[in-house]
């Protein structure tokens, strides 16, 4: 089967991702999936794909793809400057490519992750209902590893054509210099000392360079590590856990399903998209969440993109 494109350079961390593994949570499988779901969903939307079609997640640029067919792709997200044969294309849009042309996603000035979607979605190995690579666990999306130079890619509808589609500027999410993360307090929240509970909302942290797809680690004032948790507790997306040295971390897509440290609650699931684009050093504060407002926003997103039906 001849490829529709070949990865010339994958960059520091390029994986196949979709909307994540909805099943297997009970057996300990990480949800996985695109770190910035909003950017990923828009990439598929621009091509008229199924919302959860497999796409590429490129981290901090350094990526190049040589096309073997006349086709269309969509590029969304942050963290890169996109060119086709050296001509700047911009992002949050579809790009038509000819055989032999080279799409480069160079290192950009803001953000962390860019999505490249392909018409019909990438052909990819799936396991437990998803093509998302969880590199730590060796779950599919090319056997749970990062893409390599020379990796052949195929997608389901290379002949798809559409006029250039761009996301209107007002819909492109900004990449802020500092983040306010809505926090739903829960888990062992009430067992933390009152001084710590105040500090959570009064203090500020920065995104630590040791952050990855498993967790965004926060550097800054230490919290008392709270109560000792005897048995591990099931986690939700965006759970904020306080590790042994008193630093909070926010669990991201490749998180474990249960955790043994004391937890403050969880971050607004939609705010995780913005957090996924925050470079090390970005200032982060927690603000009190209003759960009903978060539910309404989640419901609107699910209806708009056609996602989230029960599994």
């Amino acid at each position: 089967m001849s490829p529709h494109g070949v990865v010339d350079r994958p960059g520091p961390f390029c994986t196949i991702q979709d909307f994540g593994r909805r099943t297997g949570r009970r057996a300990g499988l990480a949800p996985g999936g695109a770190m910035d779901q909003r950017a990923y969903l828009w990439a598929n939307r621009l091509l008229g794909n199924e919302p959860a079609a497999p796409a590429l997640e490129v981290t901090l640029g350094g990526f190049a793809l040589r096309f073997a067919v006349d086709t269309v792709v969509a590029i969304t997200g942050e963290g890169c400057a996109a060119t086709l044969d050296g001509v700047e294309t911009g992002t949050w849009r579809t790009v038509r490519a000819q055989p032999g042309q080279l799409l480069r996603l160079g290192y950009g000035s803001t953000g962390m992750r860019t999505y490249v979607a392909f018409p019909g979605g990438l052909e990819a190995t799936t396991a437990f209902g998803s093509a998302s690579a969880v590199v730590r666990d060796g779950m599919p999306g090319l056997l749970g590893r990062c893409l390599r130079p020379g990796e052949p890619l195929r997608w389901h509808a290379p002949d798809y054509r559409c006029p250039v589609r761009r996301l209107p500027d007002e819909l492109i999410p900004p990449v802020p210099d500092s983040l306010s993360l809505p926090l739903v307090t829960g888990y062992e929240w009430l067992d933390f000392a009152a001084a710590d509970r105040r500090r959570v909302f009064d203090a500020g942290w920065t995104v630590d360079p040791a952050s990855d797809r498993t967790a965004t680690r926060l550097a800054g004032p230490a919290l008392n590590t709270g109560p000792r948790v005897l048995d591990s507790t099931p986690l939700v997306d965006g759970t904020v856990q306080v590790t042994g040295d008193g630093s909070p971390l926010v669990f991201m897509r490749d998180r474990p399903t249960i955790g043994g440290y004391a937890k403050l609650g969880s971050v607004d699931p939609i705010a995780l998209d913005t957090l996924a684009q925050a470079r090390p050093g970005t200032a982060v504060r927690f603000v009190r969440a209003e759960p009903q407002a978060l539910r309404s926003a989640l419901a609107r997103r699910e209806s708009f993109f056609g996602i989230g039906q029960a599994h």
Binding site: R22, R26, G138, M139, Y187, L230, S232, T257, A289, P291
Partner: protein, 224 residues
């Protein structure tokens, strides 16, 4: 006790011990929640807790709390329903100091021979109290108090696949190589964890796991 750790999730903690009886009650509550609540997307039973995740379209926290409070009260009364967990899982373990770096020290510290420690570890029919941490990892209990020890103060950077560890009153098998802080007392032939699907689906909460001691020769034979 019911708390809401996220905008569309509820965590129920039953006031029961985290043992065979406790996880059976949690699994009873899980069945009720899946039937009674609309649009349940995921449930995770673990020890004496149950996490329920649902849909933002249908989640009414007051209604959920009322339903789950009533159900939790029912679940802690009487005899818990028998969980649907399939056949017991039986795994061979080689208790050899060469394969288990904490075995000799732990036995010495407890005033036991390696063989006695192996016997105390392999004579219990354990129950799966939770799955998670890594895909295919199961928290098994309860460990005989005579061999219980807290986890290592500093986790090892690398634990080999198939390693059998203990931590407090729990024991478990590392299904893949990686960092880990449990004290290592034996090894299951890693070939038993080679198939990802089998590895991930082997243990089910509430199920029974038995270990049978094998010698080094049989271990090598199983390793192929």
């Amino acid at each position: 006790m019911i708390t809401f750790p996220g905008p569309v999730s509820a965590l129920v903690t039953l006031p029961v011990p985290a043992d065979r009886d406790g996880i059976a009650r949690v699994l009873g509550l899980e069945r009720f929640a899946r039937d009674a609540l609309p649009d349940v997307r995921a449930t995770i039973p673990a020890f004496n807790r149950l996490l329920i995740e649902s849909s933002p379209h249908s989640w009414d926290p007051e209604e959920v709390e009322a339903l789950l409070t009533a159900a939790a009260k029912e679940c802690i009364r009487g005899t818990p329903p028998e969980p649907e967990t399939g056949e017991p899982v039986s795994l061979p373990v080689c208790y050899d100091p060469d394969l288990a770096p904490d075995l000799a020290d732990l036995a010495a510290g407890k005033g036991l021979s390696v063989a006695e420690l192996a016997r105390l570890h392999s004579r219990t029919a354990y129950v799966v109290l939770a799955t998670g941490f890594a895909p295919g990892f199961a928290y098994l209990g309860d460990l005989d108090p005579r061999i219980a020890m807290p986890r290592l103060p500093t986790p090892r950077r690398r634990v080999e696949a198939g390693s059998v560890g203990i931590a407090d009153r729990r024991t478990g098998i590392y299904p893949a190589a990686g960092p880990g802080g449990w004290r290592l007392i034996g090894r299951v032939p890693p070939a038993l964890f080679a198939d990802a699907t089998e590895r991930i689906s082997r243990f089910r909460p509430g199920g029974t796991v038995e270990f049978r001691a094998i010698d080094r020769k049989s271990y090598q034979a199983e390793c192929g």
